[in-house]
Amino acid sequence: MVGEGILKGLVETARNFFGSYVGKDRLTTVQYPEERLPQIEAARSFPFLVYDGPDWDKGMRCVACQICEKECPPKCILIKKSADKKPDAVGKPQFYPAVFNIDISVCMSCQICVEVCPFDAIKMDVDYDLSTDDRFGDLLLDKERLAKSNEYYNAIHPTEAAAVDAHFAEERAKAEAKAKAATEAKAAAEAKVAPAAQEQPVGGETQ
């Protein structure tokens, strides 16, 4: 009979019509500004720079090694290495980025900078409702705007951040152990040969 398939289709749409009033599985729309989906841990939007401690400038993990700048596929990162060294969060003197800019109008959120960073200094943010009315200035993020605390990183990517922190703690413990060993060795050496002490390297700096 002609029209059978059409009737079947009409029944199907009617089922969906009423189904959208009773079941949540049909009406999957999320009313965005009022409702939000739960934050997904793996989500990524744009990169940010992690710092430890209270001061963003002092605690910046980045050592301006410029690997991410080289590896970034669309080349949206600009880093200028500092001339001097500054103690980092642990207290080690390190180079630091005098300039660290990311043009997020170019960035394509591929996460390759995060993967290549050996210092766990750059991570992906999850903030997605970004907008600005300034087309040039506001889309070029400088060091200050890129800096986010380690606590923030822990809040958005808990699993990953815990692993990173554990790794850092291990490193720090190792360094401390080494330093302790070094000071002990130094003390012992001093006790043995006092004049030779000046030539000993300072512990922890050998990395």
Binding site: L10, T13, S20
Partner: protein, 391 residues
Amino acid sequence: MTQALDQIFVLTKQWLLGFVPASAQPICSAILSVVPVLIGFPLLFAITTWLERKGLGRLQNRYGPNRTGPYGLFQPIADAIKSLTKEDIVPLTADHTVHFLAPVLLAAASFLGYAVLPIGRNMVLVNMNAGVLYFFAVGSVVELAVFMAGWSSRSKYSLLGAMRAIAQMISYEVPLVLASIVAIMQAGSLSTVAIVDKQAGYTGIWPHWFVFTPWGVVGFALFMIAATAESNRSPFDLPEGESEIIAGYYIEYSGFKFALFFLGEYLGMFATSGMAITLFLGGWSAPFSFLTWIPSYVWFFAKLLALIAGFIWIRGTLPRLRMDQLMSLAWEFILPMALLNMLDAGIWHFMPAGVLRWLVCTAIVAVPCVLLGQGLKRNKKFQVRTYQFAK
């Protein structure tokens, strides 16, 4: 009390007319009758756009508009503001006068049909002797407006759209008229009021609507198919087929002129639906004898909204036909069925009432309908296929 409520608009009009001098009464009477129609149906258009968007949304598992006011109810107002404030772009090479006149003519012609629609008891603008004829006559003016729009835009797409639209409207006008002839035959009058009056009685609780006869139901179905095509609604929306020729004849219109096209189209849809209600669904009469206390105009609009809901439902489900298929549907299926239906109505008229009449008349329309459908299907050679898998 129910009587007064039913006639409230008629009585109000008479009361208001009492205030004007006798010499001015005819013109005032005309104004008092026309203005509510000019306001009421565009208002219904606004409600329908909201209903359609909400309904289609739910059919498609979406919310539909819900940002303007509660449940998005102010969406039509927002749309109106938008279309009023948009720039009115006229193509440089367009024929400016005709380009301007087309939407005006379309909207004006769409209103003309309402003159003979009985909206309620004693509520018809003109009780014309040849009401149905008038309705179809003014309906044909719309084609001219469509042509003007398509031609004056000087766009290839709009020309294609206009050609499609005119071919479709002419083809479907024939089945539309032929499908309505059965009701005219039975009522013995071309007057819409007489046709409604003929359907006003009840047997037990059941009304004497024409749709409750074998020829009536076939006539109604054919009329609705043809009406869908006449008003360019999906699945017959080829003239504006947005995925093919983008918007057809009104592709070069923007702003308020575009809104006028929209208005004209919906008014046409309401008018043909109203005619279907008048011819087959008993006009303003209540569906059961115990519901006659509800005012007649309420029933008319309830039926109209039900038909509109049907239009929306079909729009949300079916893909569009192709031009040649549309034509073959009109000439190979609807036209023969409409002619056969006329014969059936004649036989019904002359046979004595009873079960036999029902059986005979049902058989006369049902058997050819199935046979014709099967034959066409076989002729077109389409079927649900089965598929092989590679070993």
